[in-house]
């Protein structure tokens, strides 16, 4: 099949960048979206041009590396699918596709379609973990938990940290990501001791990184390849306010 691509090209963080047009000729409908870009890149390299840089790693929808907005939709048109799991058969002969990097002030472009997502790492460092002693694993049934809660936690834990929620949001808010990371632990007994501190720390870091405020448009939920629900954002809203009003913060931070 024949398609037309408009791809964002930008040499480095400082240069301005612009959309460039490409017309790859023999696109196989069974190719994945990234394979299509691979083939195009080989062509470009043969012609002595600079290949299109994009992030990718697992190519099976679990690492969250592949980040590109295809026709205005993070990860492209298929519901609950990462860009690497998207196939060219989702498009038609003669389609015109716009491929752009995540757009958010907190995610500056590094090169072409690659953006810097280290703000997510700094948010995780502020509480996206549980502090447990290492050593031999605990007995499996020592901490009872209902199946329903375990399932809910597992759904939140499916977040792969790709940042599509930020890319989809008109406010570049990362609330869906933060709420998934807060919820996966807030729903489990192991997450309770640090629950309040986690909500405060991660949200404050989110704000500090320059992400926007959530206006509940739900664009994130529609774009998320793991279909994380905004129910998690409501939980984060509750936990953050509870922590603000009732958590004896100064004492614990003095102990740190």
């Amino acid at each position: 099949m024949k398609i037309k691509l408009h791809v964002w090209r930008q040499k480095n963080a400082k240069s301005p960048g612009k959309m460039e047009t490409y017309s790859p000729s023999d696109v196989n409908p069974n190719m994945s979206f990234l394979e299509m870009l691979d083939v195009l890149n080989e062509d470009l390299i043969k012609k002595g041009e600079d290949a299109i840089s994009f992030d990718h790693d697992c190519r099976e929808g679990i690492c969250g590396s592949c980040s590109m907005v295809i026709n205005g939709r993070p990860h492209g048109p298929s519901k609950g699918t990462t860009a690497c799991q998207l196939h060219m058969r989702s498009f038609k002969e003669g389609d015109e596709l716009f491929i752009e990097p995540w757009r958010a002030g907190a995610f500056p472009v590094v090169k072409d379609l690659i953006v810097d997502r280290t703000p997510f790492d700094r948010i995780m460092a502020k509480g996206g973990f549980v502090s447990v002693n290492t050593g031999s694993a605990q007995d499996a049934n020592a901490l009872p938990i209902s199946k329903d809660l375990a399932d809910k936690s597992f759904e939140a834990a499916a977040c792969i940290g790709c940042g599509a929620c930020v890319a989809a949001c008109k406010n570049s808010s990362a609330m869906l990501f933060v709420s998934a990371k807060v919820s996966q632990l807030a729903l489990l007994p192991q997450g309770q001791p640090e629950r309040m501190r986690r909500a405060l720390g991660m949200l404050r870091q989110h704000d500090e990184e320059g992400f926007g405020a959530c206006t509940n448009t739900k664009a994130c939920e529609a774009a998320c390849p793991k279909e994380i629900s905004i129910e998690n954002i409501a939980r984060l809203n509750r936990d953050f306010m509870k922590a603000t009003l009732f958590y004896p913060e100064h004492e614990s931070s003095a102990n740190e």
Binding site: G72, G105, N171, S173, R204, D207, A213, T215, T217, M241
Partner: protein
């Protein structure tokens, strides 16, 4: 100021709580306002007695007015702060953007909110401060709310303006109700559908209730 209060009010969630709480207060205000207005269909007697009764309790009336103004100011100031922050967070637009999954009203709350603010100012200038139509009110007894309404809405353009403004309120509200509850942490698959329907229902009821009066006057149903 206590540092934790300050920190909370600086956070995105804290500011969203301010938006949600002040907004919910104004929704209750609108429901009260509309119920009062509906008395106009019961005749001049009913609505004028209502207007006079309100004025017999100045302390209550003023407490309520001050609360409403505070809610409005908090809502508007927070909206400006949040909008600025959100624009700064998203400086580069997409060449093609789809915004899938989000409703038009959810993406344009700032715009509809701004139109509503202008309308509130005009509405106050019209009926409360009596600046826009002084000639209509000069021969009237100050408390004749009924005649005030009847005389005002003889002009089709003004009726159009009021209908347009209340429709804008309706658009704003279709997102407001579920959004404010979500912000306050109220979201559960058990009742989300009910909240969404209630939000749309209230928005439509408020629109029909408010806009029916100028239209009824223009059509001569109320005279």
């Amino acid at each position: 100021m206590n540092s934790w209060v300050f920190k909370a009010m600086k956070s995105t969630i804290g500011q969203k709580w301010l938006m949600g709480l002040s907004g919910l207060f104004m929704i209750f205000f609108l429901l009260g306002h509309m119920s009062g207005n509906m008395l106009i269909y019961a005749g001049p007697e009913a609505i004028n007695t209502y207007a006079e009764t309100l004025r017999k309790f100045p302390a209550l009336l003023w407490a309520f007015r001050i609360l409403s103004v505070v809610a409005l100011v908090v809502h508007v100031v927070t909206a400006v702060v949040l909008t600025k922050r959100n624009r700064a967070a998203n400086p580069i637009p997409y060449a093609s953007s789809a915004w899938k999954g989000s409703s038009w009203s959810s993406r344009n709350m700032g715009m509809t909110g701004f139109v509503i603010l202008l309308y509130i100012i005009y509405h106050l200038a019209h009926f409360t401060w009596r600046l826009t139509h002084p000639e209509l009110f000069s021969e009237l007894d100050a408390f004749d709310a009924y005649q005030m309404v009847i005389l005002s809405f003889q002009e089709p353009w003004l009726v159009g303006l009021y209908v347009f403004a209340t429709f804008t309120v309706c658009l704003h509200l279709t997102h407001s109700i579920s959004s404010s509850l979500q912000t306050l942490g109220i979201n559960h698959p058990k009742y989300n559908e009910a909240i969404r329907r209630l939000g749309d229902f209230l928005a439509i009821v408020l629109f029909l209730g408010f806009s029916s009066i100028p239209v009824a006057v223009l059509l001569g149903i109320l005279s």
